[in-house]
Subunit: 398 residues, 2 copies
């Protein structure tokens, strides 16, 4: 994976960011991502039935397949804001289209922050025209900063594919779902590759399933979650199509960028000190593997044991047991890193458990659960549950 | 509901408890509950697919409908102990039957405590004969003590029904699922009423659904959970049958005892400082109401907000949104106590939110979520997620 500094920009994309005063902190809170030509696009949106206004506006536009500009604000989620919220989201997109001189249908809007408060429209009215004049090709890092809420660090990842020559660049935000009342996980991936629309759709969906949809800080999905992929075709490559070798490379590279961003979100999980990969194998099928991995990755008892660096396999086996996946308790095998602590459903003894404890003391490790029933596999990435999680989420909104 | 001290015993039932050294602490850890005559019985058992050995032994016996003795130990769950664990559970029941001079088929065994360690059989061999000689009618409180693991207080509840004259007495243990590696929620309810077997079964199942199955400290269900109901008919009443007025009274009283015990478990939730009733109404149907209530009651973000005494309705509405229940975001109403904070999906303003914050400062309150879609209702009881939860569950097993 390329280092953030290595990828400075993506051909044909420009960025502009400002501190518009939507956040009380005075930090950057408004960013505009613009493609010189309309880009093909695909999107994945929250499955929450309570959907924030910007998603109501953006979702059908993204589904239509073309997008030229994305306006994102932090500090206010424009969620649970009723009819006024919808009008505000539409006004944001109108202001953006006007400032850029493009069709409103080519604008996506996205918001993250406080739920239930009206969007401070005067900030948008004041800043949007100016923002459009500041667009520059090297502003991705500033965009990544401007979408942060409780994030402790900027999340940016990218890579360069030499044959055919194109670039992928992604930014994301997220650290737990809703800090006091900050919401949302957002991801925006830009590429200058020319890609068949069906491949864009398919690659994004499978990539998100194995990254953003396979992480959990808590189990909550927000009202504002969205991941967009824009491909503007400015690299000049022959169109990358589904089923081709180049298509497989594109899919794999996109997934790598998404997973890199997703892991950053787990590492930045509110109060988290550990990144743990839960790898389930030997499940009856892939769906069972996913159920089991999800159940373990979301168990508060498992997550506090990680925090306590306690090789508590009893909690893991119990979480597998109530996951709904097929389990034969007498076949279960559990490893912390490479150290087996359970074989055929019973403990391998104190010595190995002590070795496993050493694995738990590292900041990043894998727990493998082999059900020995079939070929189903799945991975989930989770964090530990810490005092700081309670502190951050238990303190008053401010 | 009767105070614990009011109900001293149940006709025909005797109790004996000892500190047998299964717990390192030297506290009571073994108890025997005995009925002078075989009692009709019903049971509800864990749905976890990893089932501890004592349940493997007891479940078919309880299903056969008669039980005369229940042996319970704390300090060791006899779970994930393989074939040896099964042999040990059978040996416990054989020792009990022998000491009491009854058929082994009339003995149920139950264990709670450390997962994955072999049962220290020498303690059972040493103490069971003596335990049987110490049976006395007034030992229910000591039995309730002997089944405790991480419980901070004894859980006992009962009531006297005057017409026809009979008594219900229940004891329970549980405080979160698995403390470091202590497992399990257990409940034992005894009555001297003569009750039709089908009613026992039905009343226990519905009572458990609305009590033990409607509480959550964390979402985890253990390998050892069980609730038993024994009715020995020694009160001399005419048989209470399904559908009769007396049957309704019995069902209601049983449910009250179970709910009382279940609420004690939530209050004793590891590190909990608040007991919160999540009441969902106006759902499309009862199943939807239950989904929504469960989702809110188990959200770590909602539970930390309760700890922070933050009227964070954004988290609640988000949890309803991803619950799978039908939701029209523009109809949702949320009240903390009697204070509406959300109406028609949007905030009712700062003043009411401040009033709601006052409700959150109390140790026990109700959050009502009205979806305004139908007649479905459900209740869940939950606790807050606190620093102490992390401390208790994050510290090493000892």
């Amino acid at each position: 994976m390329a280092e953030p500094t290595e990828i400075k920009g993506v051909k044909g994309f420009k960025f502009a960011s400002r501190a518009a005063g939507i956040k009380r902190s005075g930090k950057p809170d408004l960013t505009l991502i613009y493609s010189e030509v309309p880009a093909r696009c695909a999107g994945v949106f929250t499955t929450n039935k309570v959907i924030a206004a910007p998603l109501v506006v953006s979702q059908p536009r993204v589904r239509s397949g073309l997008c030229q500009a994305v306006l994102v604000n932090s500090g206010n989620a424009n969620a649970c804001t009723g009819e006024q919220g919808l009008q505000d989201a539409l006004r944001c997109s109108a202001l953006t289209a006007q400032a850029l001189g493009i069709s409103e249908e080519l604008v996506a809007v996205s918001s993250t922050g406080v739920i239930g408060a009206p969007l401070p429209m005067e900030k948008f009215e004041r800043h949007l025209a100016g923002l459009a004049t500041e667009l520059a090709p090297n502003g991705a890092l500033q965009s990544a900063e401007a979408i942060m809420t409780t994030d402790a660090f900027v999340k940016i990842s990218g890579c360069r594919v030499d044959t055919p020559g194109y670039t992928l660049l992604g930014i994301a935000k997220g650290a737990g779902m809703i800090h006091p009342n900050m919401a949302t996980m957002l991801g925006f991936v830009l590429t200058d590759a020319l890609v068949e629309p069906a491949l864009l759709e398919e690659a994004l969906r499978s990539g998100v399933d194995k990254s953003f949809n396979s992480i959990t800080v808590d189990r909550d999905t927000s009202t504002n979650d969205m991941v967009l992929l824009l491909a503007n075709g400015q690299a000049g490559n022959a169109e990358i199509t589904r089923g081709s070798e180049a298509g497989k490379v594109f899919t794999a590279q996109l997934q790598a960028v998404l997973l890199d961003l997703a892991k950053m979100i787990v590492r930045d999980g509110e109060g988290a000190t550990k990144l743990v990969q839960i790898h389930v194998q030997g499940a009856r099928d892939a769906a069972d593997a996913r159920k089991a991995a999800y159940s373990v990755a979301t168990s508060s008892l498992v997550k506090t044991a990680f925090f306590g660096e306690d090789a508590n396999w009893g909690r893991i086996i119990a979480a597998v047991g109530y996951s709904g996946a097929d389990v034969d308790p007498n076949k279960v095998e559990i490893r912390f890193g490479e150290v087996p602590v359970v074989q055929a459903g019973i403990s391998t003894g104190k010595d190995l458990e002590e070795q496993a404890t050493a694995v738990l003391k590292t900041p990043e490790f894998t727990v493998t659960i082999d059900l020995h029933l079939g070929a189903g596999e799945a991975d989930y990435y989770t964090s530990d549950l810490t005092y700081d999680y309670v502190r951050i989420n238990g303190s008053y909104r401010s």
